[in-house]
């Protein structure tokens, strides 16, 4: 996980996706050819850090490493540029987590590799009133 994490750190820290220079279509995660027009004229683009919730769920089960975070709110978020992203929703009262709620990205720990392994960071979102 460590080296794959290092490869992706800018994507996890700054939500960097792609923009097609030919048709302006944006994507996160990045693409290699534009999924709208097929062009290879692509470059990195930092995604907006705000958006709204279009679907959400609270998970009561977890993968290894996430046990302590149950119940885990997960949101399907539409960023202000139309790109959809799935992420944890944190620091938000449960009643505020609803469709159309505005959210903003935050920088948090995603997981840790036990007591002596690495710490993994990345994006989550929180509801902004």
């Amino acid at each position: 996980m460590s080296i794959s994490y290092w490869r992706n750190k800018d994507k996890y820290y700054r939500i960097i996706g792609s923009i097609c220079n030919d048709c302006s279509y944006e994507s996160f995660p990045e693409f290699y050819t534009c999924s709208k027009c097929g062009s290879s004229n692509i470059e990195d683009k930092i995604m907006p850090n705000t958006g709204k919730i279009i679907s959400y769920t609270i998970s009561y089960e977890s993968m290894p490493g996430f046990e302590a975070e149950i119940p885990m709110p997960i949101g399907l978020i539409q960023l202000t540029n139309g790109v959809n992203i799935i992420a944890h929703i944190v620091d938000s009262n449960i009643e505020t987590i609803k469709v159309n709620a505005s959210v903003k990205s935050v920088f948090r720990k995603i997981n840790i590799d036990g007591k002596s392994g690495q710490i993994f960071y990345g994006y989550k979102f929180k509801v902004i009133i």
Binding site: Y13, R14, H88, F107
Partner: protein, 344 residues
């Protein structure tokens, strides 16, 4: 000390985690009732640490500073997530900055102001244009110890730059005073610090803060009444009030920056966060005294003068006191779960 070129704060940001542990919860467990000296302390959530809080505060500070060429990222903390691996490189990467000096500073609760001093020198010498100084901690108190009431979490970030019309507050002068005084320490490999109780008072906190402030006042030929605001390191609600009294500062001067009653002592973020609270309301021309204290021991003292553009610069940021109102109280069980799980 004065740098040869004027250096100012061009952006600032404060981050305090949402969770609060009322000290009555701690007292209920260990004393059967009552509360601690402060009302509550801020608690970093399971997915927060020194690095995550640094990034949040730094992002706000950089947003306020605007376009600037950051050449130093220094994180002052005593709760580094890694004993060996700098927090500052993670913060720099998260901000998209690679051509920079980066280091973690350690000097108990004065590591943040230490970073401010060093960056002032780097800018003053024209080696860099701007620098980012962070004072941040997720302080841990040994269960049942008196520090458990106050050891809190927060981050304060300052972007320092050459003085310009973009400035918020200029550093008029600063001092640093240190002695080898082991009032509070943590050995390698230990989870919690140890301290010498009442010895941390006069020989520790008071001696060093009074010394650095008196040296500073003499250097710039100033009196306490010249300052609109004063903020001191806040290990508990009482010490800053007492040291202010001893130095000749009034309650009015220190109230704006006094955060310990609400959030406890976030160690390296303590006095810097108090400065953030002051900058949220200070007006052009106001003089501010900042004095930190780090066990081991030492104190940094600064005199700052607020610049003309402060109101315009801070207009888009949410004041710290307003952010503090958005909090959620937890009980000791939840607190223990959060702390215990950090050991996994």
């Amino acid at each position: 000390m004065k740098s040869s070129t004027s250096v100012s704060i061009s952006g600032y940001g404060g981050y305090v985690p949402k969770l609060r542990l009322p000290t009555s919860e701690v007292a209920k467990l260990w004393k059967g009732g009552g509360s601690g000296p402060n009302k509550a302390k801020s608690v970093a959530n399971i997915d927060e640490d020194t690095t995550t809080m640094s990034v949040e505060a730094a992002r706000d500070a950089i947003l306020m500073a605007g376009d600037c060429n950051i050449g130093a990222v220094f994180v002052g903390t005593e709760s580094k997530p890694y004993a060996v691996k700098p927090t500052s490189t993670i913060v720099a990467q998260a901000l998209g900055i690679n051509r920079t000096l980066a280091a973690d500073f350690e000097f108990a609760c004065k590591a943040g102001t230490e970073a401010m001093q060093v960056i002032t020198g780097l800018i003053g010498s024209s080696m860099i244009d701007s620098g980012l100084a962070l004072g941040v901690d997720t302080a841990q108190g040994r269960p049942g110890d008196s520090l458990e009431y106050t050891a809190g979490s927060a981050a304060a970030a300052f972007v320092l730059s050459k003085r310009s019309e973009n400035s918020i507050a200029t550093i008029e002068a600063s001092t640093s005073y240190v002695t080898d005084t082991g009032d509070f320490w943590r050995r390698q490999g230990e989870s919690f610090p140890k301290h010498l109780s009442r010895f941390t008072g006069d020989p520790g906190y008071f001696h060093h803060v009074e010394s650095s402030v008196n040296i500073l006042l003499k250097e710039i030929n100033a009196q306490p009444e010249d300052f609109k605001y004063a903020v001191f390191h806040q290990p508990n609600p009482k010490f800053p009030v007492e040291v202010a009294r001893r130095l000749g500062f009034t309650r009015d001067q220190i109230d704006t920056g006094l955060l310990n009653p609400e959030i406890g002592n976030p160690y390296s973020a303590s006095s810097p966060l108090g400065l953030v609270a002051i900058l949220d309301v200070a007006m052009p021309g106001d003089k501010i005294l900042l004095a930190s204290f780090g066990s081991g021991a030492g104190s940094d003292a600064f005199s700052l003068i607020v610049d003309d553009n402060i109101v315009e610069k801070r207009k888009n940021s949410i004041p710290l006191r307003e952010k503090l109102n958005d909090n959620v109280e937890i009980n000791y069980g939840t607190y223990a779960k959060i702390r215990g799980i950090l050991d996994r």
